[in-house]
């Protein structure tokens, strides 16, 4: 199992190197936007990976409420943290791209606002995990995770209506969706590489979480033994 994971990490690093090469050197420079368009190869895969992480978080939380096993809770914690990290990358790379292209850092359009609300919800999830004590953390966090995930489509629907004049999606929709073949190539490699990075980070964080729980249990046991002497 461990060797398999190490092989996967090596594969991920190789993929990441190749996809970075594709994105920065092979893919052609966009005609109107110029070099800054290359951020797209990192922005969209990060958004995708964040989405995957939050979905894993949702499934793991349901599984926890159903089975009550430490593993699914550790997976929920790991996926939420990794998801928030990728979501942060999305929220940082977006404005960097928007400033030269749109002329503004930020606009309250449907996608941007939904991503920001998503980020807020999962940060509150992490805060809740940090502030709750003892064995209650898992149940409370799982409940909040389900609330958060149910909220996302409602947020998107509301904000779409709220911002009916929002600019048409720049990528991946409508007449602009046809990427140049080399761009699509670089994009898909980055998508794969980022998904693998997400999985590697989730597995590592999951292991750390399980270790932390074992350490805590050992401390508790030691304290109990000390108390009886």
């Amino acid at each position: 199992m461990k060797q398999l994971f190490i092989a996967f990490v090596v594969l991920t690093v190789t993929l990441l190197a190749y996809s970075t090469y594709q994105a920065l050197l092979v893919a052609p420079t966009e005609q109107t936007m110029g070099e800054v368009q290359r951020i797209f190869y990192y922005h969209v895969p990060s958004a995708w990976t964040a989405g995957v992480c939050f979905f894993v978080n949702f499934l793991a939380s349901i599984l926890y409420l159903w089975k009550r096993n430490a593993k699914s809770d550790a997976l929920a914690a790991a996926s939420a943290e990794v998801g928030v990290m990728f979501c942060t990358i999305v929220l940082i790379t977006g404005p960097i791209w928007a400033r030269p292209v749109w002329g503004i850092w930020w606009t309250w359009d449907a996608r941007l606002t939904t991503t920001l609300v998503l980020w807020l919800i999962y940060v509150s999830y992490l805060v809740l995990r940090r502030f709750s004590t003892g064995g209650q953390t898992q149940v409370l966090a799982a409940a909040l995770a389900i609330f958060g995930f149910v909220d996302v489509p409602i947020v998107y629907m509301t904000i779409r209506w709220f911002r009916t004049q929002h600019p048409a999606p720049v990528m991946g929709g409508g007449e602009n969706s046809g990427l140049a073949p080399e761009m699509l190539h670089a994009f898909l490699w980055n998508l794969l590489a980022f998904t693998c990075v997400g999985i590697v980070l989730m597995v590592l964080r999951y292991r750390l979480q399980m270790l932390e729980e074992r350490v805590e249990a050992a401390h508790a046991a030691a304290a109990l033994e000390g108390g009886t002497q």
């Binding site: 999830y125 809740l128 502030f131 004590t133 409940a143 909040l144 609330f147 409602i154 509301t158 904000i159």
Partner: protein, 224 residues
Amino acid sequence: MTTFSVTRATLHKDLRMEWRSKDAINSMLFFALLVVVIFSFAFNPTAEQSRQIAGGLVWVAFLFAAVVALNQTWARELRNQVLDAYRVSPAPPNALFLAKAIGNFLFVIVLEALMAPLFVVFYNLRSVGPLWQLIVVALLGTWALVVNGTFFAALSIRTRSREIMLPLVLFPISIPALLGMVDATTSILTGDASPDFWIKMLAVYDVVFTAVCLLLFESVLNAE
């Protein structure tokens, strides 16, 4: 013990306690009043401007005030281990939740009824659209805040620094509901747009989150 009888008994107890102490309603009223006054200084609006921004001001004031009451919801049940007693009793957990949610709903509705005239006076408000729509928005919107708020209050009572935890988890989840309330209120007050979409959306939000709350409350109540 049926759900209905337990709900009624708990609600009756809560309302009587509130009637005698008036803790929640007084603190909410004073808090909302402060928010109204401070906003008035901060924005200093004319009559036309205040019609534009009143929807936001009203609901932000009510949201903040509601948090004050919501934080007290479960605190009194912790004394003398009432919640633990409730957990070992055969009473259905959702009955307790419903009673608390309905109680909070009534408190916040009373607060809104008392504060509405003050808003009209301080901000020179006059609605262009029909008034009954504002009442529908207030009922749906208040339930949206209160049902999640009651749930998250039960959740945050089990954490460290509980008072601060409730807004931290409640506000992000409530963003769509708040947006709906504010936009519906503004479109009724200015008469510029139809609030129909927002009213429907608030109704959907209420149904979805009431269902989620009822589904998960038992797990949260019994969390160890």
